[in-house]
Symmetry: C2
Subunit: 346 residues, 2 copies
């Protein structure tokens, strides 16, 4: 499969390029016309037949041109990532205009990420997505407890990354604000600087110990802390649905329905982005590489953002498999870098 002659490769790329720019199946004639190899349509035809046999192309019907498969896109993207993108000649002014807006929000990462999705979708004409980091990856800076009513307490978790998560937890009415302050002090001394993952682990241990030693206050502290952490508090932002519905890829009602189902299932998208954020740099998931059926006609380009080495979120683009990958990668890469730079510079 990897034994593609240089010529076959060039023709494959030509087909992909053409299809990305113009959503019609690509015929042998078009290839010879638009990209001047010194070859006749007949020869190209033979090569394309070979490429089809190898699984890189398919034809929608007998007498249509051919269309790249997800395998072809993967091949193409991998080569792109290796050699960098040659034709990333996107207007720099547009970038700068949009980024200027983001710059004003640099203090508030959550807002920054949510606004970044707009820039991403405007730049790419696909869906812009962004996500705050998995709580398990973030580290606790401080915890604050405020008695809300008889039996409710607000737990506010400040992370070192700049995220603020809060949750309201039910408590024993006997606990006073003073008790809560002491509990908070205890929790801070115990857990600040720890990742949420570590805290979760620590809780399990403490709770075992607690059974024997049995300090009333500590027991309360643990219970509150556990409840506050029990939910995955990941935040996901998406925008650009109108943009994407203007694409010729989403004119079919069935496809649109699928798209809407994919977007409604935020949990799934979070899961995918989480996985992608574990690696360095821009990641690409193409169509059928996705597990869920609703995503099998969608591609995802995403990159983590970092403050120094600490993950502070993921930004990305969701679009049809017939995506301008070079452009998408370029946009995502730049946006991720820009955000990283924004939050890193003191």
């Amino acid at each position: 499969m990897q034994i593609l002659s240089e010529r076959s490769k060039k023709i494959l790329y030509a087909v992909i390029q053409s299809y990305i720019n113009y959503p019609d199946p690509v015929g042998s004639r078009v290839v010879t016309k638009r990209y001047s190899f010194g070859l006749s349509p007949a020869t190209v035809r033979n090569i394309m037949a070979d490429l089809e046999e190898m699984g890189f192309l398919t034809q929608p019907h007998t007498s249509a041109g051919r269309v790249p498969t997800d395998l072809a896109y993967r091949f193409y993207v991998d080569s792109l990532v290796k050699q960098g993108d040659p034709n990333a000649n996107i207007e720099v002014e547009i970038f700068q205009g949009l980024y200027k807006r983001l710059e004003m929000l640099k203090n508030d990462i959550e807002l920054l990420l949510s606004e970044a999705t707009r820039s991403l979708s405007l730049l790419s004409h696909y869906l812009g997505v962004a996500m705050s980091p998995t709580p398990d990856m973030t580290t606790l800076k401080k915890i604050t407890l405020l008695k809300y009513s008889e039996d409710k307490v607000a737990v506010v978790l400040f992370t070192d990354e700049g995220f603020i998560k809060n949750k309201i937890v039910a408590i024993d009415p006997n606990i006073s604000q003073k008790d809560l302050n002491r509990i908070a002090t205890y929790l801070n001394s115990e857990f600040s600087g720890c990742s949420f993952h570590e805290i979760r682990m620590g809780l399990v241990q403490e709770m075992k110990r607690e059974k024997t030693e049995c300090d009333f206050l500590i027991s309360r502290a643990m219970r509150i802390c556990k409840e506050a952490l029990c939910f995955p508090l990941n935040e996901l932002f998406v925008s650009g649905l109108p943009e994407v519905l203007d694409l010729p890829d989403f004119t079919d009602l069935k496809t649109i329905r699928q798209l809407s189902k994919a977007l409604e299932d935020k949990h799934n998208i979070i899961k995918i982005l989480d996985k992608m954020s574990e690696s360095e740099g821009v990641q690409v998931v193409i169509g059928s590489e996705n597990e869920r059926d609703e995503m099998k006609k969608l591609s995802l380009v995403a990159s983590p953002c970092k403050e120094n080495d600490r993950p502070i979120g993921v930004v990305g683009i969701i679009g049809p498999t017939r995506m301008n990958y070079a452009k998408a990668i370029y946009i995502v890469e730049n946006t991720a870098k820009f955000i990283s730079r924004l939050v890193t510079e003191k």
Copy 2:
């Protein structure tokens, strides 16, 4: 216009009912068949022609049946609200099943509202929406300041309604956490118990005074407070896009695009819901009564939720103008009441 004979009214309602249940233009034959008045199609035809002249009905084309106008829906809805809904025979079990889920979230209003949108969309098969109250309507319980870095401070605002809003604000690096604590104490003594609106007003006054008296700390306090309040921190939740795309009203690509534009403009929806939340009970906005073009084919049914007399959010349904208003009103009313009850019972 209000001088509709009892018979005309009945026929108008019959047309509306039929069209709501079955998305085809209603002809005179159908009316006589499905709803047994003692009348022949010809007579009904005459009456329907009159109703069309009065602006209650239109025909999509010469030889189709007739379709209610927004005016007709308004007429119908007004009569519904007056007399209560007669045929609200929705399975109570479904309600209870969904509501049981919500009950677990009663401590966290924000989460409660966001989950309520799922119930609303599952019950109605339209879009479920929910919104936290306008900050201006909420009252400050407490303000907390935490120094985040050299030049950033996290401002956490706890409202009496149970909402926690936070914002990160840039500050002079010279200000220490100790200073911040004093500032927070000052702000709490000054503003806790006040509505955000009052605080905003108070700030203006204080800042005038400050110019002459010039206490350094107070001046800082005011600036931080102002910046924290400068954004409208309204939260909007929407779900059910896949549900609504299964309706025959949204099979047309143009309509779907319009819908997606309407949803992308959250600001506008917030504005509409804000206005609706000012009145008591369930409100209905029908199609062309909306200002924005993207909303002119959508109807909105919404109701505020209250804890005793204090507004804690709005829940509602967005759907096509051809909406089952009786059912929608019933669902929204019950959900609003349920949530109100949940958060009110201590």
